[in-house]
């Protein structure tokens, strides 16, 4: 039982916070918003040089073998600056999926490229009718003499426009019927792949994908063809823990800015913060930030636990942090008054990123239900 940062972790936090505060600001965000990538390729190179892209990748594949706590430290700093580089889609999810179920050849071919910054990845999984149910996929991969033919539609593919390889989930099928859920590596330039690219709420970009008769080779199948759902669940839990840490960074920034504002802004001859109703609201915001911090850390520390405990920790964190985030975001706008609803302050950008966080992989209600369902509903003691 030790929840204090090690010296290495403290250094990682300091360097990440310093980098983010020196690099990211409103001007920077406006510039990348107009970039077709939705982020800066230059900064991505710096991430590689800092070792951040190699952080969670196994040492055998050119990585540093870091864990969810280290990812959380980075993500929290990223939240402070609303970093839009595709760290989640490429490093946490993409490299996570390849590391968890790829063949040795696939890992050797792809993971070093993630680590050195030369390959972006995206995960195309969600489908409209499935809502947030990870098990529901109607995209199919038909066995062909040379490999696979993939047909289907995917929504909200984060950073799909930038990705060199898109990891697509599909039900394998042949003349005998439908089989397991599997993952396929689809090159960005594959024929039959159509992307509808759009700017993403809160920064960065995403796309909706249509796959119509997309042919890939036999080696596009990620891993050995066994059911990929457990891996998808594990990696999405990891992504939710990382996103939770990012949300903590965003919330803390909103709290700090709002606190500062209420001290400076004067009405009726005194600062807003002199009013008890404002002070108590800020106290509630601070508590929500602290609770979110507890739950993000808890999810990270339980990420290697057995699937039920891990899933409950990740869903509990997603649900609770989502609720806390909404409160902090909405109250930050409220306490900034009319200025809070303008694009002239940063508050709105942070607000929108938290809204995106709450939506991604399912909102609080979905995750309270998953938390209950995984526990067999009886309260665990």
């Amino acid at each position: 039982m030790d929840l204090t940062l090690s010296d290495e972790q403290r250094l990682l936090r300091e360097s990440a916070e310093r980098f983010v505060s020196e690099t990211y600001n409103a001007d920077h965000r406006r510039r990348v918003a107009n970039d077709p990538l939705g982020f800066s390729a230059e900064i991505w190179k710096q991430f590689a040089e800092l070792g951040w892209l190699a952080l969670p990748i196994a040492e055998d594949h050119g990585g540093l073998g870091g864990g969810a706590v280290e990812i959380g430290i980075l993500m929290e700093a990223f939240g402070q600056g609303l970093v839009s580089e595709p760290y989640l889609s490429t490093v946490v999810i993409g490299a996570g999926l390849i590391g968890a179920c790829g063949s040795e050849a696939q890992k050797q071919a792809l993971l070093p490229k993630v680590a050195d910054g030369s390959l972006y990845l995206a995960f195309a999984h969600s489908e409209r009718v499935a809502r947030f149910n990870l098990a529901e996929v109607s995209t199919t991969a038909w066995k062909t003499p040379n490999g696979w033919r993939i047909d289907g539609r995917k929504t909200a593919v984060l950073d799909g426009n930038a990705a060199g390889q898109i990891i697509v989930s599909a039900q394998v099928a042949d003349d005998n019927g439908v089989g397991d859920l599997c993952l396929f590596l689809v090159p960005a330039e594959a024929a039959g792949l159509t992307k509808r690219d759009f700017p993403r709420l809160g920064g960065g970009r995403a796309c909706n994908l249509e796959l119509r008769g997309v042919h890939v080779g036999a080696d596009a199948l990620l891993g050995d063809g066994s059911d990929a759902l457990p891996v998808i669940e594990a990696v999405v839990d990891r992504a939710m823990a990382a996103l939770g840490a990012e949300a903590v960074g965003i919330m803390q920034t909103l709290l700090d800015q709002t606190l500062e504002y209420t001290k400076i802004r004067k009405q009726f001859g005194r600062p807003l913060s002199a009013n008890q109703v404002i002070r108590h609201r800020l106290a509630d915001m601070a508590m929500n930030c602290d609770e979110a911090r507890s739950m993000a850390l808890r999810a990270a520390l339980m990420i290697d636990a057995e699937p039920v405990a891990r899933g409950r920790a990740a869903s509990g964190a997603k649900a609770k942090i989502g609720k806390c985030a909404r409160f902090v975001a909405e109250q930050s706008v409220q306490l900034h008054g009319a200025m809070g609803v303008t694009e002239e302050l940063d508050i709105g950008s942070y607000f929108k990123r938290l809204l995106a966080f709450d939506t991604l992989f399912g909102g609080s209600a979905h995750h309270y239900r998953r938390h209950a369902a995984l526990g067999g509903r009886t309260v665990q003691s």
Partner: protein, 398 residues
Amino acid sequence: MDLTFSAEERAFEREVRDFIAQNLPAEMKHAQSLTPSVFSDPDIGIAWQKALHAKGWGAPGWPVEHGGPDWTPAQRWIFEAECARAGAPNVNVMGVKMVGPVIIGFGSPAQQNFYLPRIRSGEDYWCQGYSEPGSGSDLASLKTRAVRDGDDYVINGTKIWTTHAHHANRMFALVRTNETERQQDGISFILIDMKSPGITTRPILTIGGDHEVNQVFFDDVRVPVANRVGEEGKGWTYGKYLLEFERGSGIASAKLREALKTVSDLAESDATGRAIDDPDISMRMSEIEVDIDTLEMTELRVLSALQTGQNPGAVSSLLKLRNSEIRQAVTRLGVDVIGHDGLYVEPMRPFYKLNEAPGIPEEMLPVVPEYLNSRAYTIFGGSSEIQRDIIAKMVLGL
């Protein structure tokens, strides 16, 4: 970082579990499960204290030279969690967790030698004389006077909301020994024998139907000056020190989890027509469970800070606030779960001494009184509004 306990801590957890299995009688556990009040009745609370004392565990947080077991913060956490899981009674916290640490920190050697062993053994039963009818949240405005007369103080005034004053043989109290410009400076911390002439106790029944609190009157009560803890006029400092223990002493999450487990068992039983199948009940159950996970994680963060010698600071206010809010959410859910059976009123106390079977399943008896009593959680020990003031000041620097 590591969220798991070490092998030694696991071994300690097994030791505690074994001890409880051998020393917590089924009747005592049953009695506690039917206790709707915040505090356990002394017949079970003192009996449990004596069992702990016999094992050398009578004063978990105390230093070893005063008879504490020399536990690490992690061991204390494990101990409290295991007691909660097993449904053990609450011991007299006013002794072990409140006045004990103050006597250890500021008392004279004579006071330490006299009082501390009697707290550990369960021989003395303490109550807390803080609030007054005119001084609730604004505690420093208290008016109970202690006037020096030779080797005695003569005390006049009244204290209120005094938990278990009708059971206690001793009270620690904040009294005014001086009229000073800053009212905090005129307060002293004093130990009073409840059998002293001039003390009368009036019961106050609360809305749950329990007699837990009282008003205590002092009419020319003589207390030796030797019973003052520390310096005259420094009582506020000692009292605040104690309040931090009161708020932060909680390893509350394990108790909350057991309380929710009880509600969850009811909700899954045919006795409530499987209330859990109501999606609103089910959703609230999940939300509360996650809130308890959150509180537990914050407690563990505090624990980890304590282990490495850091002061967790104002987080005790957050823990107190959330503990009380979650407690109320659990008890409110309980009322909704038992439905019409919540209309049944049983005025007799304690429930575990009823002579005939009640008209509803026995385990439902405490549900409504617990909810009613739990309204006090956001009021005692510094109301939620006071805690928010503290957070604004201490955490946010406002």
